[in-house]
């Protein structure tokens, strides 16, 4: 069944794609089989992350940029969008509102928008956002845009997933310094000062430029780059003034995305980023398997008896942990 579904996803069937995303999002066993079947067809899409504080205009920007790539760019490109909003830790429910800003994209078969709830994951993405991005990639979208939960914190997760991270800021939020502190700018490949129609935008852009200038090591700027050393020229994140609601500055973002992808490929950083992503995925999968095995075995291994003994000070937590681990490993050996 999942083989069939994978086939339909590869053929670009939208209903199949929607089902596939649900299976993957819900950790369904069919989802795993599906990811496996789709994996050989991934690796083509340019994954772009959009992050920044709540309300800076991420959804508006994503929609305008997608529209640009569909209707205005010299050669149109298809766009898959994953928009993550937070799950309430109290109720487990979520209100997913990013689509409100994306109504312009309705009816375009070259666009697919999916909202995702973070479902308890921290770091701005849902645990299965990376897998969902793979599904969109396999389905043939040229670009996959990932909007994180609005946060002022450094979003390590998106830096790990995306080839290019666009950090969006806006004037008047009063948290420029906060952003600098939180290290959110460290992960930026492209910096957008959105709401350039508002007072303070120019000033904010200058502040960011200064900060970037300080960070860039002397003698490695683009002015000093000779053609011969072009392959190891560092990427200097551009600071772009944008008014997303009016579409101003959008072509410049598109241009920077193209340049960044070219830069990554030229310098080998594209592969390097993928390697890092797969490495962390591998580690996570292995850890998760261990974790699940532990969760199912803990009781049988006498966790509660050991706890009683710890409470009576008959055994230390360290020794108890060792005992449990030894039993887990011997399990492993008798099994394998």
């Amino acid at each position: 069944m999942s083989r069939d579904l994978a086939q339909r996803v590869l053929q670009g069937e939208r209903r199949a794609l929607a089902r596939a995303l649900s299976l993957v999002e819900n950790d369904a066993p069919e989802g795993e089989a599906l990811l496996e079947a789709l994996f050989p067809h991934t690796g083509r899409a340019h994954l772009v992350g959009f992050t920044g504080p709540p309300g800076v205009g991420k959804s508006t920007l994503v929609a305008r940029l997608a529209r640009y790539f569909r209707r205005e760019a010299p050669s149109p490109r298809t766009v898959g969008i994953l928009a993550v909003d937070p799950t309430s830790p109290f109720t487990g429910g979520a209100l997913l509102g990013d689509r409100i800003r994306m109504r312009d994209l309705a009816g375009d078969p070259g666009v697919f928008i999916r909202s995702m709830a973070s479902r308890g994951a921290v770091g701005g993405l849902a645990r299965n956002t990376a897998a969902a991005a793979q599904v969109l990639d396999a389905a043939g979208f040229d670009l996959v845009f990932i909007e994180t939960v609005g946060a002022g914190q450094a979003e390590v997760e998106i830096a790990r997933l995306a080839h290019t991270v666009v950090v969006v800021q806006a004037p008047g939020l009063g948290d420029e310094i906060q952003a600098l502190k939180a290290g959110i700018l460290e992960i930026a490949d492209i910096l957008v000062v959105n709401k350039a129609d508002r007072p303070g935008a120019q000033q904010l852009a200058r502040t960011l430029e200064n900060w970037l200038g300080r960070r860039t090591p002397k003698g490695e700027g683009p002015d000093d780059a000779s053609p011969a050393s072009a392959s190891n020229t560092p990427w200097i994140p551009p600071v772009l003034l944008v008014t997303a609601t009016q579409g101003e500055g959008i072509p410049q973002i598109a241009q920077s995305l193209k340049e960044h992808a070219a830069h990554l490929k030229r310098t080998g950083a594209w592969q390097e980023r993928e390697r890092r992503r797969f490495e962390s995925e591998l580690r996570e999968r292995v850890l998760l398997t261990f974790w699940r095995r532990w969760e199912t075995r803990a009781k049988q291994l006498g966790l509660s008896q050991l706890l009683e003994r710890i409470l009576k000070r008959e055994i230390s937590p360290q020794r108890a942990a060792e005992t449990l681990l030894r039993q887990m490993w011997s399990d492993q050996e008798t099994k394998g």
């Binding site: 819900n26 109720t91 487990g92 429910g93 209100l95 697919f112």
Partner: protein, 142 residues
């Protein structure tokens, strides 16, 4: 491993711009643990069906205050069918004259809610229909 999350699309077809009721329902469903996709006002039947498909929802809730429900609802149902989404539960809320309710139900609408329907009831109906639950736990307060 993870529990089944109910996904609901709340949409406002037609031209009236009042979405207070829709927002109240959206929040109540979120507070009941559901994932609610809110798309805003002035959605065409095509937009609603497309969003329902892309979001792979279990439920589509339509809020209609304009009085145009007898034309809008069949259009939305038709577009959902065309999109292969005829399995979704369709709910309608708004100011609906009693004589229209059986007609809407006949078209395939699961339930019709008038103004002032307790949101609890909507939550219960959805849970029962989607999860096959006969009883619901007390709700966490908003």
């Amino acid at each position: 491993m993870t529990e089944r999350k109910i996904r609901v699309l709340i949409a406002k077809p037609g031209l009236d711009g009042h979405d207070r009721g829709a927002k109240i329902v959206a929040r109540a469903l979120r507070d009941a643990g559901m994932e609610v996709i809110y798309t805003g006002i002035r959605q065409t039947p095509e937009m609603i069906a497309e969003a329902a498909l892309q979001e792979d929802v279990d439920v589509v809730g339509l809020s209609i205050l304009s009085g145009a429900h007898m034309t809008l609802v069949p259009q939305v149902l038709e577009k959902l069918r065309e999109a292969g989404m005829d399995h979704v539960l369709v709910l309608v809320g708004g100011i609906i004259p009693p004589e229209d309710v059986p007609k809407l139900r006949e078209m395939g609408v699961y339930k019709v809610y008038g103004p002032g329907t307790p949101t609890r009831q909507i939550v219960e109906d959805i849970r029962r229909a989607v999860l096959g639950e006969s009883q619901t736990q007390p709700e966490p307060m908003a």
